[in-house]
Amino acid sequence: MTDIITDAEEAGFASDLTQADTFGESVRAYITRVRGGDMGALPSIAGLVVLFIVFNFLNDRFLSNLNMANLITQSGSIIILAMGLVMVLLLGEIDLSAGFAGGVAACVMGVLMVEHSQNWVVAVLAALAFGAVIGLSIGLLVAKLGIPSFVVTLAYFLALQGVALWLIGEGGSVRIDHPVISGIANNNMSVAAGWISAIVIIAVLAALRLLQHRRKVSLGLQHQPFGLVVAQIAVIAIVLLVVTYILNQNRSVNPTFPIKGIPYVLPMVIVLLIFWTFMLSRTSWGRHVYAVGGNPEAARRAGINVDRIRISVFIICSAMAALAGIVQASYVGKVSTSSGGSYTLLFAVGAAVIGGTSLFGGKGKTSDAVIGGLVIATIANGLGLLAQKSYITFLVTGGVLLLAASVDAISRRRRSATGLG
């Protein structure tokens, strides 16, 4: 029955729509997509706005410049870890060990710098290499032996805690006070450098976007309406400029020691966001990651080396976890046996899922990690300001994660019902 209906509808369509819709039509098409269950980043952005309004209402310090800068630094390591997890989730796999992989990698860095007085560059590279090796071994076990990633990474989750104890000793911790490392989360760019980089990023993105648009129009390919392209550029520009403006204000409570400028974590996150977005959407490697997540058998028949894609993604996830661990160590000023433990992984998985990455594989973007990470960090930050007991933070975060996973499951069902991808 449905077949005949679809065919009747199809008969009316031209072979292909190469002309752009008008702006209004695009908006209507977007609304149809959302109603059909393809919500993208909408729930997470809406959630973020609601959280901002609620926390601002409950505590007037929430929207202060100081707290906004704190929020960005706090979200840094969550976002970086979540970026790695987004890629693993794209394959329909999970990495439960990512939190501790980051923690232990940071321990490796700390021990090398403090106990073996190594150069910070050597220590950071060693930490990243440690992460990559962990990822390689997880990837080999999952891809070549066929053990479910859930089990492999659960084993690593336990084993890596042992490694941390062995490296640092029971209950110990290592102080991280190297100016470069602790500067990642605690130092700021100069005001001028902040404005210049913001404007350069906006100019480059706008130029690339407009060039791409012109090329598509001239070749008669499918493209978005010009108004929508301009609107997208405008939104990105406004967000970047507002954030830069806020962070370039003096946010110190002590007038004799002004604090202003963009925390170094922010450009780091932006560079990673641009890099991984490029890798996932513009290279054949990225295309193959989506293909393996969507239908591994089809990917195999298309000649894609499925094992190699899986292994590469686990390597990237653990290496990104190591980077997140370093940022976190910089933020708290030490590494300990519990680094990367407790809620670290839950927050990052939550960030990815809240951002709109599907737990079922094949759907997600690096930007999901950024938006989701901001939501998670906002909850932790806002509840912290309200001086709530920490059990409330856990309850609320757990609830938000469940909510996000439910949205994912429901929208997936609606998508398959309405036939949207």
């Binding site: 290279t283 969507g294 239908n295």
Partner: protein
């Protein structure tokens, strides 16, 4: 039409799995511009024969001639290199990717490191247009939003895109409704008319009689008949499939089948 020389010619193909002798001295010819239907009951060896052609299970003995030249096809890559494309029954498409992305999957066009989306989109559109595909709204819609017939269309268009010379279609209409079957059969005909050699594996004799130029019937691993569609009736083909012989049908291997 059979004055043309076959583009793909198998002679005396044998294949065993352990003690099971699945294919006995099978001959099969696929001509350019013609649809050859491969019919046979379950277990007759259709799938094994297709896999032998596609290089997935290489034959134990026999000749594999492509353009009249003997070839050693021992892997799916070898077959693809010759220009043989297989469209499987369970379609090998990724639902989360769009039509263009699926058609170029594993063989993406690149500018240096970066995917060349504009070229890929134009070529995909060209391939779909050359098959007069009008049922797809946009080449950028995801495969999840396509109906079964449209998916089959995309899978078949993929073979046009890669200038395949021989296309093997495994039960392309098995899961489709009436209108969609119509579309796919039209597409199969157009594919053959463009000069491609098409092998259609099907259980559905209505489809076979509608679109095929020749019929090769397999019976218990042997070729029961290799005939032109216009020379036989549906009843005769049913007899060939179920008993391996039919009065009045003379194929190259009917004698071999009757002596077994």
């Amino acid at each position: 039409m059979s004055e043309k020389s076959p583009i793909l010619h198998l002679r005396g193909i044998n294949k065993s799995f352990g003690v099971a002798h699945v294919l006995h001295d099978v001959d099969l010819a696929i001509y350019p511009g013609e649809v050859t239907a491969l019919v046979g009951d379950n277990g007759a060896g259709k799938s094994t024969l297709v896999k032998a052609i596609a290089g997935i299970y290489p034959a134990d003995s026999g000749e594999y001639l492509f353009d009249g030249k003997p070839q050693h096809v021992t892997s799916a890559k070898d077959a693809a290199a010759l220009g043989i494309e297989v469209v499987y029954q369970d379609l090998a498409l990724c639902e989360n990717l769009d039509i263009v992305e699926n058609m170029f999957l594993g063989r993406e066009k690149k500018n240096g490191l970066v995917l060349d989306e504009t070229t890929m989109e134009s070529k995909a559109r060209e391939a779909l247009t050359s098959l007069s595909v009008r049922t797809v709204k946009s080449v950028r819609q995801s495969v999840a939003s396509l109906s079964g017939g449209q998916r089959q269309t995309v899978a078949i268009a993929k073979s046009v895109l890669w200038n395949s010379r021989v296309v093997l279609l495994d039960e392309p209409t098995a899961a489709l409704g009436v209108a969609q079957t119509r579309q796919v059969l039209d597409l199969v005909r157009r594919l053959a008319d463009s000069g491609v050699g098409v092998l259609l594996i099907s259980h559905n004799l209505t489809d076979v009689f509608e679109v095929a130029d020749r019929i090769t019937a397999l019976y218990l691993g042997r070729v029961a008949a290799d005939v032109k569609t216009k020379d036989v009736t549906s009843t005769q083909v049913v007899e060939l499939i179920t008993t391996g012989q039919s009065g009045g049908v003379t194929g190259p291997s009917t004698t071999a089948a009757s002596t077994s």
